[in-house]
């Protein structure tokens, strides 16, 4: 079981099979670092909402972290006459 969220995302969008297009190498770990303060601030609100709708807050956090950690290795590749899209999560 991996609790490590995705660190990098590679996105290639090449319209009409041309060499020009969008080639992104996204350091997703920077997004997690930026989001961390907001998560900490919103954590009490999250606990209150969990108590209100009768769900276990720690189990919920664990399930979402597990979901996030499982995204690594996801690969989507579409090669059509209009565009060539490649997404890979590391």
């Amino acid at each position: 079981m991996s609790w490590m969220p995705p660190l990098f995302l590679i996105v290639h969008i090449l319209p009409n099979r041309s060499h020009r297009g969008l080639r992104l190498w996204v350091p997703v770990f920077l997004i997690w670092i930026l989001l961390l303060p907001f998560v900490l601030v919103l954590l009490p609100v999250f606990f209150i909402v969990c108590a209100a709708i009768d769900i276990h807050p720690f189990r919920t956090l664990g399930a979402f972290l597990h979901l996030l950690g499982s995204l690594g290795g996801t690969h989507v590749e579409v090669d059509s006459p209009d565009a060539n899209v490649f997404i890979h999560v590391y």
Binding site: A63, L67, G69, T74, H75, E77, D79, D82
Partner: protein, 140 residues
């Protein structure tokens, strides 16, 4: 003649198995124990990905190919989300599933039963092949 071949032929002669079954058994014997060992080794490997491969030949401008690889961990994590469903909603979900003929209690999904479900997916292969597209869904 090996003992296995003799037994198969004896069963065929005695009418215990059909000619087709005998042929399959003989083929399996010929493949030998190495193949079954390799098969067993493959079975011991955990399933890592659910693959969806689409090869559409419908487009006017050319073919479209789709290749999607979903980690099985994501499926496991998704099923794990059922454990956080509030009890009241869980009852409603169970009732809705039962109405559709799926008699399971999502609150009782344990990691072991989840592994059993994932293990059953090992043999899952969906092949759709028509003149417009070829779709293949399988686990690897």
């Amino acid at each position: 003649m090996s003992e296995n071949r003799r037994q198969i032929l004896e069963m065929l002669a005695a009418g215990k198995i059909t000619a087709d079954e005998a042929e399959r058994l003989l083929a399996a014997v010929e493949r030998g124990p190495d193949t079954s060992a390799a098969l067993q080794a493959r079975r011991n490997d955990p399933i890592k990905y659910l693959r969806v491969v689409v090869d559409a030949r419908d487009g006017h401008d050319g073919p479209t190919k789709v290749n999607v690889k979903v980690p099985m961990q994501l499926l496991r994590a998704g099923v794990k989300l059922t454990s956080i469903i509030p009890p009241r909603a869980r009852t409603e979900v169970n009732a809705a599933l039962a109405k559709e003929g799926i008699d399971i209690d999502i609150g009782k999904l344990t990691p072991e039963s989840l592994e059993e479900i994932v293990e059953q997916l090992r043999d899952l292969t969906v092949d759709v092949d028509n003149e417009r597209a070829k779709v293949r869904v399988f686990c690897e």
